[in-house]
């Protein structure tokens, strides 16, 4: 069970933290710097030993906690994550790329060589794996922080839990619950917008999208045990979404994590069957 190693982590001195980047946008690491009020406090109670985005100092493994941003998408990254795993007592993924593959995992359903030719005039120089995959597909991960991007409050909670030697208290229920609690009018019921809130994990900081009068697009990935089939039934029978719409909606920043992946694969098959029928 992820999280247990965090429990076990009790330290007399300062916690030695490190942040590592793989294929990503830097946004989750930036959320560390976006702690602003807590940043200098964090630097006081922990030792931020390796953080290339923020400092020039030489690294010195081993680290108590390694935060990993980004997915594995090149042969070099495959090697590097194994090395990092050996150097970190606890390994925590931060964000959708590291946890589910991220937006670049869209290549997993496509021909990467064709992608490469589309973007680069000399694709032979591109050393990219055929897939972009989450960290847990390569090494053991102790805890996964969701979100595209992560919520900085979750980071503080995680480090506090590690310092106190307790389990982090991070919710895994649906965004829908948070939205109701906040008293926002339901964008699906009131406006007929296809909202992923019922199947998406809470954490973005107060049902951001419904608060902005739009449908949740699932940036925190699936909640615990979502009912994908039921939501899909609603979207297709009552909100006019077709199989392609469903596929696109699920294959966004967390498309390559179950059960979003399985559901999107089902809609893709349906879309292809529909196309074949049309051709006939």
């Amino acid at each position: 069970m992820p999280g247990q190693n965090v429990d076990a982590l009790r330290h007399n001195g300062k916690l030695k933290l490190a942040a590592f980047k793989f294929t990503s946008c830097d946004g989750c690491q930036l959320q560390i710097l976006n702690l602003e009020d807590d940043l200098l406090a964090l630097a006081e109670v922990t030792e931020i030993a390796f953080f290339l985005e923020a400092r020039r100092q030489e690294p010195s493994p081993p680290y108590d906690i390694g935060f990993v941003e980004g997915s594995i998408s090149t042969p070099e990254e495959e090697e590097r994550i194994s090395q990092i795993r050996r150097e970190c007592k606890t390994l925590i993924t931060i964000g959708a790329c590291a946890t589910s593959g991220g937006i670049q995992a869209l290549r997993n359903w496509a021909d990467v060589e064709e992608f490469s030719r589309c973007v680069y005039p000399r694709p032979e120089h591109i050393a990219a794996l055929a897939t972009a995959t989450p960290i847990a597909a390569h090494v053991f991960v102790d805890y996964e922080l969701r979100g595209c991007p992560i919520n900085p409050a979750d980071l503080v909670e995680l480090v506090s839990a590690a310092l106190a030697g307790r389990r982090p208290n991070i919710a895994t229920h649906s965004l829908c619950v948070e939205c109701k609690r906040s008293g926002y009018p339901c964008v699906m019921v009131a406006q007929g917008k296809p909202c992923l809130g019922p199947v998406t994990q809470v954490g973005c900081g107060g049902a951001l999208c419904p608060h902005h009068n739009r449908a949740c697009y699932g940036c925190f990935g699936p909640m615990e045990q979502p009912n994908m089939a039921s939501l899909g039934q609603w979207f297709t029978s009552r909100l006019g979404q077709d199989a392609r719409d469903m596929k696109r909606m699920l294959r966004l920043f967390n498309g390559y994590i179950e059960p979003f992946k399985q559901a999107s694969d089902r809609y893709e098959q349906e879309e292809q069957r529909g196309k074949k029928k049309q051709e006939k």
Binding site: T23, D26, I126, R214
Partner: protein, 463 residues
Amino acid sequence: MSKKSNAGRKSKKSEGGAVGRRRTRTIHVEALARVEGEGALHLVTRDGRVDEVQLRIFEPPRFYEAFLRGRDFREVPDIVARICGICPVAYQMSACHALERAMGVFDEVDPAIRALRNLFYCGEWIESHVLHMFMLHLPDFFGCESVFSMAVDHGDWVRRSLRIKKTGNAIVAMLGGRAVHPVGACIGGFHRLPERREIAALLPELEFCRDDMADLLLALAGEVTFPELERDYEFVSLSADDEYPMNLGRIKSNKGLDVGQDEFGGAIEELQVPHSTALHAAIRGRGAYLVGPLARLNLNAEKLHPRAAELLPKLCKAVGRRLPWRNNYFSLLARGLEVVHSFALAVDLLANYSPPERAFVPVAPRAGLGRHGTEAPRGLCWHEYRTESDGTIALARIVPPTSQNQAMIEDDLGELALRIEGLSDEEATFQCEQLIRNYDPCISCSVHFLNLTRGQGDAGEVS
């Protein structure tokens, strides 16, 4: 040199020494610190001339232009935001404007929405500029390895800058829900308009930060010594008639470039240079050019907000140079001025805010072509999209600022290399790193557009 696969992957290597009468020096930094993304530096000088200079990009490609094909046009602002966690607003704004052109509604966007878009951008400029100035760049000027060690001697500055940065984030969050990958913007406007009480809550802090940033900037200008490296750059930025450039305007330079948004893609070319497989943007028939805060300032200083403009003479006096500034290290000051400008503009916009009649212009899908660039914190970020009749993206092309500056960074390094021959290897390496960081390169952004050089031409093999 064998590729070290230690977790840090940061190894520095400098080889110097006289071999007979030849002197070869290799400066190699395998993983540049305090830049956004992954990049490396490789520089070889021999007998007083530069043999090789490369800013290597080893950030993995993510293929945005490829997977955008087939997506719905309304999804694009949320998707392209993920190109860069530091400047998502820039990507959203460029995409929104370009797709509004494609859908034929560009001229229908309400002026009040345009004002809110500038406000959105103010937040991002503040957040990104202050992050770069104080957290990534300034430690170099004080000989510190990070903001954490800089906080020991300059704790007051660090704390004030964190408060200012936080306020920039708060502007983005007011319009977009959060600072990184905000959810508020859409094609045609915003999903939701801010309420008066949110604005009233933010205004006093904006006024405080505007004044405090002005003080900080003047104090900083008095303490920092800039390296001397003046060059005859071609500065490129948007230039609107009536405002300091953010979202709108023609694209102009100090050397005669003057093109509409539609024509920019044809005005530049992507060159492949012998020493690198990375594509370099250049103005057709002319060569490398510079985008970013220094370019914007030099071309548009008279359009600065009066609160920023009044600081300019003092800054010019502090550095002993009148505009145009040709020393790119002065970008630090240009960023500071733009932060003050952004706060002052934001205060004006909010103090006079009355909610627009509608949050967005209704947009219906159609087959179209749209091109538009806006001023990301690091410079012009230009997008091009072609859509099918149902609004599906058929083609996407994105020209981010760092890939445009890459050729100029290498030119600058070549120039610098000759001036630092007398320095120790360590000091010379540091100066090269500082030069690159001065550009605030955003490698995460640039890479989906660049070829990789990783694994080619090892540093040790200088013949």
